[in-house]
């Protein structure tokens, strides 16, 4: 089995596995200053909705959105119990399977998360307050875009479904911090990119990750997706390439896209 991590050695990432998660500034504080640039859209951004509090309840939450949802109950600090399809409550499944991508800063030893939903830290990492005077100090800012491998590490930490932590066997990486090499711990067989069983959405992600890691592609998720605008408008600017065929037909109007049903073993969908 060919693993991806070898390709990452060239990126200058922090390679040592972190024993502890770092202290970080929570998103609420970020939004005090970024109330007018990020604030107006963030509450409706999909990253912010991976876990949603239920109105009028301090302990009840909803996981997912639209067609695929599960109910959650807070059972302690950084812990959720998840309701199974048969109505029973499962106290460990959320921590074992969901926490890595639906919450922020999960301690892989205790499986306790720090913030629910995806906080600024999940992409921008540990932020120095001095970034207000020098935006190069914040990862993924206009003046510090990060390389293709770094961006791919960050996005893949959630969007590359099917990898596994080498240290813990969890479906999410061990103490990954943006700026680190995700694949130092997260094993992903990139041959899966051509797996015909993959749905179009997952295949699109796998192929892009493979192209960055193995073929030195400079096209990353951020080339086409604007996270804060919650938009993929930029992808219309991309020249036609084989990657387009993941979703579009080879001929005919581009607005016609292939229908597909999301499927994930990790997420138990469908």
């Amino acid at each position: 089995m060919k693993l991806a991590f070898a390709a990452l050695l060239v990126c200058g990432f922090a390679q040592a596995q972190r024993k502890q998660l770092p202290e970080f500034v929570a998103g609420d504080q970020c939004l005090f200053c970024h109330r007018n640039d990020i604030g107006p859209t963030w509450q409706k951004n999909a990253h912010n909705l991976t876990v949603q509090p239920k109105a009028g309840s301090a302990d009840e939450f909803t996981l997912g959105s639209r067609k695929h949802t599960r109910q959650l109950r807070k059972t302690g600090y950084g812990r959720f119990s998840i309701q199974e399809k048969d109505g029973a409550w499962n106290g460990s499944k959320f921590a074992e399977r969901c926490a890595g991508c639906h919450t922020t800063a999960v301690n892989a030893e205790t499986k306790v998360f720090t913030e629910f939903a995806i906080d600024c830290y999940a992409c921008h990492g540990v932020v120095d307050l001095e970034h207000t005077n020098d935006t190069r100090l914040i990862l993924l800012s206009k003046k510090n875009r990060g390389g293709a491998s770094m961006i791919t590490s960050i996005c893949s930490s959630c969007h590359l479904r099917g990898g596994e932590s080498k240290a813990k066997g969890l479906p999410y990486a061990y103490h990954f911090v943006p700026g680190d090499d995700l694949f130092a711990d997260h094993a992903a067989d990139l041959k899966k990119a051509e797996d015909p069983a993959l749905n179009a959405g997952d295949r699109h992600v796998w192929r892009n990750v493979r192209d960055v890691l193995e073929n030195n592609s400079e096209t990353t998720c951020l080339s086409c997706h604007q996270v804060h605008a919650n938009s993929a408008q930029k992808h219309r600017r991309v020249l036609t390439s084989p990657a387009c065929l993941d979703c579009h037909y080879e001929s005919g109007p581009k607005k016609n896209v292939k229908a597909y049903a999301a499927a994930s073993v990790v997420c138990e969908v469908p």
């Binding site: 500034v25 929570a26 998103g27 609420d28 504080q29 970020c30 939004l31 005090f32 200053c33 970024h34 109330r35 007018n36 640039d37 990020i38 604030g39 107006p40 859209t41 963030w42 509450q43 912010n48 876990v51 949603q52 509090p53 109105a55 301090a58 807070k74 302690g76 600090y77 950084g78 306790v112 998360f113 720090t114 913030e115 629910f116 939903a117 906080d119 600024c120 307050l129 001095e130 207000t132 005077n133 020098d134 935006t135 003046k143 804060h228 605008a229």
Partner: protein, 501 residues
């Protein structure tokens, strides 16, 4: 097609110290300029051209004077109804304004003044501020303590400022358990230790009480993660420090922030707050300044900024004062659609979440310990939608009384607060709206209370005591040792509007 707002104004020859439309920051599609906004803009241009021409002045120079502001207010009145007491004479002669609105007429106590610990926050790049025509700089010096003193005390009529907290908590000890002090405690953009230091500096230079400071500590700032509850020992340690050492005059709470990594926010009527009240009460601090509204200052906890929890807290603690900041208005000045986003109902004048705060008083007419603070409430409303401003101020006074409305500005985020002082001096509710909605005209007595007498009462300020002004050399005498030097930020301005507007 989108074009830069500045480019569009240059093309259309628009020069206005007041905003004439809402601008996009690329996060949302520019909203078309409304008919009323177009009308105001047209009138401002037309009226200022006539006046500047007759006075033999360049129009840009004219707009920078009190006559320019008066012209804008006249134009606003023509379109939105009479929300400003302004005469034609003021748009022709600066002396007319000076005579009618003499400086120093009111005692002004601003309960919401901010600066930063050397960080530029980008607020001054907001389009509605830029459109005021002040051309404020946005580097870290613009947000500094030194500039705070200049803009609050020298460039405005403000007599006393309450230095108000922003979300953040201090780190109490280092990794070896040794107590940290001063800058080592960090604490975010404006920590409690720095507010106390700045207050002492101002009062030392003035030789009298010209500043108070708040404390940032809140019930969720130190968290026992093993037992999933507040770390009461750490909270009490910080409480003692902030009260005894920092000598704070009020707490400043943000229910919808979580600097302690507790995994949630809090409500001012929950059991952790109740415990905090008891401990604070024992130590003599009985004023709780609570940020409510501006809900997108939170990632996931925005609903906790709804003021619904004020009711129980106020009823259960009649000996405490609850100053509700921003009068609980839900959204901010750059909201793409202010009326829609705040669910403004023109039939009633209600809007989110101000109406929740008003309903509390309607249900509980005996509540006497809740105050409506108007920082970033009156200002943005009065320049962008004076009708909502009239509703907001009209309801605050109608339901809570003019003795329970408190002056705050949120400056120096918006530069010197003088433009807000000037605007509130002239602000009035139209006859039509008084008749239709049962509001009362705002009297000079009302304005005196709102401008400062109410805050003085809350903070126990003896108005009979002499308050000496800061000397002309005060800025040079400020001890600035805590200010760090650093690289200057990019001052790139952004903002897009539709090319057709």
């Amino acid at each position: 097609m989108w074009i830069r707002k500045g480019e569009r104004d240059r093309k259309k020859n628009v020069i206005s110290p007041m905003p004439t439309q809402v601008i996009s920051n690329e996060e949302f599609i520019p909203r078309p300029q409304t008919e009323k906004q177009k009308h105001v803009e047209h009138l401002i241009t037309e009226m200022s051209e006539v006046r500047a021409g007759k006075l033999g002045m360049d129009r840009r120079a004219f707009m920078a004077t009190s006559m320019g502001m008066a012209t804008c207010l006249l134009a606003s009145n023509k379109v939105w109804g009479n929300s400003f007491e302004v005469t034609e004479a003021e748009a022709w002669e600066p002396a007319a304004s000076e005579e009618k609105w003499p400086k120093g007429e009111f005692f002004v106590m601003d309960v919401q003044g901010h600066f930063t610990d050397g960080y530029a926050l980008n607020f001054r790049n907001m389009e509605f501020v830029k459109n005021m025509g002040f051309q404020l700089s946005n580097d870290k010096e613009a947000y500094s303590f030194r500039n705070f003193v200049k803009e609050m005390y020298f460039d405005s009529e403000t007599d006393v400022v309450v230095i108000s907290g922003v979300p953040g908590r201090e780190i109490q000890r280092d990794e070896k358990g040794a107590m940290l002090e001063g800058r080592q405690r960090r604490g975010g953009v404006l920590p409690s230790w720095l507010m106390a230091y700045a207050r002492d500096e101002i009062n030392r230079l003035a030789g009298s009480a010209r500043a108070f400071s708040q404390g940032n500590l809140a019930p969720n700032h130190y968290w026992d993660k093993v037992n999933n509850r507040p770390d009461r020992k750490a909270i009490l340690e910080q409480m003692d420090r902030e009260i005894s050492q920092y000598k704070i005059a009020s707490w400043k709470w943000y229910c919808h922030t979580d600097p302690g990594g507790s995994g949630g926010g809090f409500q001012i009527d929950d059991e952790n707050s109740a415990w905090f009240y008891d401990e604070s009460r024992k130590r003599g601090i009985k004023t709780f300044s609570v940020h409510k509204g501006y809900s997108y200052q939170s990632r996931t906890l925005g609903h906790l900024a709804n003021p619904k929890d004020v009711e129980k807290a106020a009823l259960n603690n009649p000996d405490l004062n609850f100053v509700i900041y921003h009068s609980a208005i839900q959204h901010g000045p750059n909201e793409p659609d202010w009326e829609k986003a705040n669910q403004y109902d023109p039939a009633t004048g209600d809007f989110a979440w101000h109406s929740v705060l008003m309903d509390i008083r309607k249900r509980n007419p005996k509540i006497n310990n809740v105050y409506c603070e108007i920082g970033s409430f009156f200002g943005p409303l009065v320049i962008s939608n004076p009708v909502i401003a009239m509703h907001g101020m009209g309801k605050n006074i109608k339901h809570y009384g003019s003795d329970h409305v408190v002056w705050g500005t949120d400056c120096l985020w918006w530069g010197s607060p003088q433009w807000l002082v000037d605007a509130f001096k002239r602000f009035q509710i139209s006859d039509e709206m008084c008749d239709k909605f049962g509001y009362k005209k705002i009297t000079k007595e009302d304005k005196a209370k709102i401008f400062g007498l109410n805050a003085a009462r809350i903070y126990g300020l003896d108005l009979k005591k002499k308050r000496t002004p800061l000397g002309a050399d005060a800025l040079d005498k400020l001890k600035m040792a805590y200010l760090e030097s650093g690289p200057q930020p990019s001052l790139e301005a952004a903002g897009w509007v539709r090319a057709g507007d």
